[in-house]
């Protein structure tokens, strides 16, 4: 098709849709930031805990539970999944990456069990979004608004938590476990707590995703970890900082910017991309984002902050 495009080839509707999904994935990205960056634990559980959150929320809502309880249950389920991955690593001494892969594939079966079928649609059922939605706002406007509120609240809570004695102990564990232990930090416990927190956020994201996208699907988790990592990396190159409150902000922005790029790429007919090219676009984007900071560093000498 060679239809002429306006400068911004996206409608407001598409833009808000991208913002909505970007915000949901910023929760995933915050989770990935906690595991990969703060704990230095390469955690692929995410690909299972995201659909786990969706499955728990959708199944509970479909069976008549109120959506708020369902969302909290989904978050707790995510935390539990992270706890098990951590336990496999800390107690059973299974290599971190492998432990998370084991948990990820186990969750595939568990999610199917929870849903009892490959997908649970939410069409007429109440969701946290349509319950809270005021009359005056269109749903596609209200959803991103509510999500902004949720994401900001999560960000501030995380910033606060990681400045507490317990939060500091978790960060120290990821940064220098030997030192942390010698300061009396039970590093095994710190890993468990961090992994639970990380996957709780991912479970929450899954629950919100199912409620905005009309249901949960067994395959909704495929590639979650890559998207989360992409968001973290894009964010870090947009706003490089070691300060935690800036880093969490960067990660959120990264998730949103990433989503806009994807929407832009898919909506620009002149590029000729289609939905199935998404993974390729992601891979390219992550590559660029990985190389960019190094190029920048070379140009301003070795003085990053």
């Amino acid at each position: 098709m060679s239809r002429r495009q306006p400068v911004l080839p996206m409608s407001t509707y598409t833009l808000l849709g991208a913002l909505e999904i970007g915000l949901i994935f910023s929760l995933v990205a915050l989770g990935v930031y906690i595991s990969f960056r703060l704990l230095r634990f390469p955690d692929l559980t995410v690909d299972g805990s995201f659909p786990l959150g969706g499955a728990v929320a959708a199944t509970l809502i479909a069976s008549g539970t109120d959506p708020f309880t369902a969302t909290i249950a989904a978050t707790a389920a995510g935390a539990f999944a992270g706890l098990i991955t951590g336990w496999l690593n800390v107690r059973l001494k299974i290599m971190d990456l492998l432990a998370s892969i084991l948990m990820m594939i186990a969750l595939y079966s568990i999610n199917l069990r929870i849903m009892g079928k490959p997908n649970v649609p939410l069409i007429m059922e109440p969701t946290v979004f349509n319950i809270l939605q005021p009359e005056v706002l269109a749903d596609y406007v209200f959803r991103p608004l509510l999500l902004i509120f949720v994401v900001l609240a999560v960000k501030l809570l995380l910033d606060g938590f990681f400045a507490t004695q317990t939060g500091l102990a978790i960060r120290a564990t990821g940064s220098n476990a030997r030192m942390a232990r010698s300061q009396g930090v039970n590093t095994g416990l710190a890993v468990l707590a961090g992994m639970a927190l990380s996957n709780a956020l991912v479970g929450l994201a899954g629950a919100l995703f199912a409620q905005t996208q009309g249901g949960a699907d067994i395959s909704m988790g495929v590639g979650t970890i890559v998207i989360g990592l992409a968001a973290v990396i894009v964010g870090e190159s947009l706003l490089p900082s070691r300060k935690l409150y800036l880093a969490t902000l960067a990660v959120i922005l990264g998730a949103i910017v990433y989503r806009f790029f994807i929407a832009l790429a898919l909506n620009s007919d002149f590029i000729g991309l289609q939905a199935q090219d998404l993974n390729l676009v992601t891979a390219l984007l992550v590559t660029v984002a990985l190389v960019l900071p190094r190029l920048r560093q070379r140009s301003i000498g070795k003085k990053g902050g």
Partner: protein
């Protein structure tokens, strides 16, 4: 204070690279004593310190600190009683955390960590005062990442951190070895000051015979995982570096004789 009884530890037992690192090492240190530890490479000094801190599990023997049997306790549980400064200046601090966050971490060593903010204003003032005594100008850089400091600066801060909590036992494993002579001298003086101020029971491993005799009040030589020399008081005052060197040679020679016996 510290009571290590008959420690045995073999690395890679039953393999060609089997190493008998500790062979019945026993050492008792009364409260408040400053002990320097010497010995050739591979004598088992680091292994011994690791066995005391809990970083290295031992095959048999007993480690008692402050009258409590700690033999089976993990590192973090012993941290209430034991503070350490490592040989590697980068190992004792978290480079991703700020100076004040590192200090806050050490401030809670062995305490229950809760959900109050780790760095409060009152604490920051305390840290500022403490770090000013180093005379390194770090008091205005509390919120800098500690990774930005030099090795010597980080080692000095590590020492300060070791004394933030009234721990019983301070373990120093060649903590000046990676520093240039001037900085090493500074850190050594700082060590003596902090140990005296806080009346810490201290074990300091060093490769410098001079240092071993100048600092502290008792010197122990390890060889092949055992204590082969233990001097204090008058006897130690009469010792000079060449005495120690001679003793070094003597135990080496005996070791050779042992091997010769084995080979014949």
């Amino acid at each position: 204070m510290l009571n290590a009884q008959d420690l045995h530890l073999t690395f890679n037992p039953g393999t060609p690279i089997e190493t008998l690192a500790l062979r019945g090492l026993s050492l008792e240190i009364p409260s408040g004593q400053f002990v320097t530890v010497i010995g050739s490479n591979g004598a088992g000094k680091s292994t011994f310190l690791n066995a005391v801190s809990g970083e290295q599990a031992i095959d048999s023997g007993k480690v008692e600190i402050d009258g409590i049997d700690m033999t089976r306790q993990p590192v973090w549980a012993r941290a209430r009683h034991v503070a350490r400064v490592f040989q590697d200046p980068l190992a004792g601090t978290c480079e991703d955390l700020t100076i004040e966050e590192n200090m806050a971490l050490a401030k809670m060593r062995g305490q229950r960590r809760g959900f109050s903010f780790a760095v409060k204003q009152a604490l920051r003032e305390e840290f500022r005062e403490q770090i000013a005594t180093l005379g390194l100008g770090l008091e205005n850089r509390l919120s800098d990442r500690i990774g930005l400091l030099s090795g010597g600066q980080r080692q000095a801060v590590s020492l300060l951190m070791a004394a933030l909590q009234p721990s019983r036992l301070l373990l120093l494993d060649e903590h000046t070895a990676a520093l240039d002579p001037r900085t090493a001298d500074f850190v050594l003086k700082l060590t003596a000051r902090i140990v005296a101020e806080h009346k810490l029971t201290t074990m300091m491993v060093t490769h410098s015979m001079r240092q071993a005799l100048d600092v502290g009040e008792r010197t122990v030589m390890l060889h092949q995982g055992r204590v082969v020399l233990d001097v204090a008081g008058k006897e130690r005052e009469g010792l000079d570096v060449h005495h120690l060197l001679a003793m070094f040679e003597k135990v080496r020679g005996e070791a050779l004789d042992d091997d010769a016996l084995l080979l014949s």
